[in-house]
Symmetry: C2
Subunit: 219 residues, 2 copies
């Protein structure tokens, strides 16, 4: 028994391997391609083991989400002092990361799966996906908002509302379009820049001195 000291809801390496295959099947063929028989064949394991490990099909799907979430760890922001350029850079990086995550194959496949199942299972999978997949990135964004406000570079009443504004400016209807099968953007960085420009126009601290806008991206 491995002394994993702490994290309980993890899986054995063998099980992670199987979950990886499950994700591959899901990405390649949608949820119809993710059958217990197919997974057992692809992962060289037995159906009996699948049911022993994950209970039933829903348990397998939940495990896939947990597994995928455990791979996407968001790194903490350094404690450096925030300058306007600094803040812009962080915001743009966040926006690019957000777009990249949302347009990832596995993310799209899991979201399609959860959307398709929602309503049948009381949106159990949907809740799981939002919690596991979004909590990390949400916390990172909110922290960035608060830091910007503390540094006097951002102005807003509620960090949550400001974050949702940023999210909307960055993503617009792109996520739904991609879920429906449209290809992603050609240039995520450009979209990130435009969105952050708009966001800073809305929530950047105004320059009382009347100088040129301090937040200019210079591009």
């Amino acid at each position: 028994m491995i002394a994993d000291a702490g994290r309980m809801p993890e899986f054995t390496p063998r099980q992670n391997e199987v979950l990886e295959q499950a994700l591959r099947l899901l990405v390649e063929g949608g949820d119809r391609a993710l059958t217990t028989s197919g997974l057992a064949r692809a992962a060289n394991c037995s159906k009996e083991s699948l049911y022993k490990w994950f209970g039933d099909r829903d348990g397998l799907l939940a495990a896939m989400i947990a597994h995928q979430a455990s791979k996407v760890r968001t790194f903490e922001r350094g404690k450096e002092k925030l300058t306007p350029e600094n803040l812009r850079e962080h915001l743009e990086t966040f926006a690019r990361d957000l777009l990249e995550v949302l347009s990832g194959d596995i993310s799209l496949a899991l979201n399609r799966l959860a959307v398709g199942q929602s309503g049948r299972d009381g949106s159990k999978l949907g809740k799981l996906l939002l919690e596991h997949g979004r909590r990390q990135i949400d916390r990172r964004a909110i922290a960035l908002m608060d830091a910007g406000k503390r540094a006097g570079l951002l102005r807003f009443d509620e960090a949550d509302a400001a974050y949702h504004t940023l999210y909307g400016l960055v993503v617009s209807d792109l996520h739904v379009r991609m879920l429906l099968g449209e290809p992603g953007l050609k240039d995520n960085a450009r979209q990130a820049r435009r969105a952050v420009d708009a966001f800073l126009t809305l929530h950047g601290a105004r320059q009382e001195s009347g100088e040129a806008v301090r937040f200019s991206s210079g591009r």
Copy 2:
């Protein structure tokens, strides 16, 4: 044969009745509940008729989308002269309508269906849904953008980009959240107001005279 003079891709009253039942089944139980046998039972018709009318299951789904789209006709804007208050009112109305459409039961059910099928069928349904369901509302929004610009009340380079900005501000991640099973907003009107405020801050014509912002909503 009714002299319907023009619209070809329509259906007979009987078929529309069946499509209505199909939508009801879809809304109530998701795509698993929409089976040919179940629909035949619910609509008091035979499976043979279903296949005669719609070809196969995909044809039925496409027909459902077309049928639903034919119900959501967007009315044209009057030709009245645009004032700032007028423009704000139109924008808010558009935003409220958009939120209402996206959070509608049938819209959500059809979007869930198309999302679930995308990738399996080369996103045929997704394309159909985007085209039929969005074209109308997109045209209405773009027309509003252009009118605002012609009246000197809005500033932007591309109407399409400005529209996407408005869309993002209004919807943010709400659509995906609802597709995943979360409940909608408590107050669409409030969200519409906030979004239009932000949009006009970004794209409203600046007041060179230095007076108070002309676009204040007064609320």
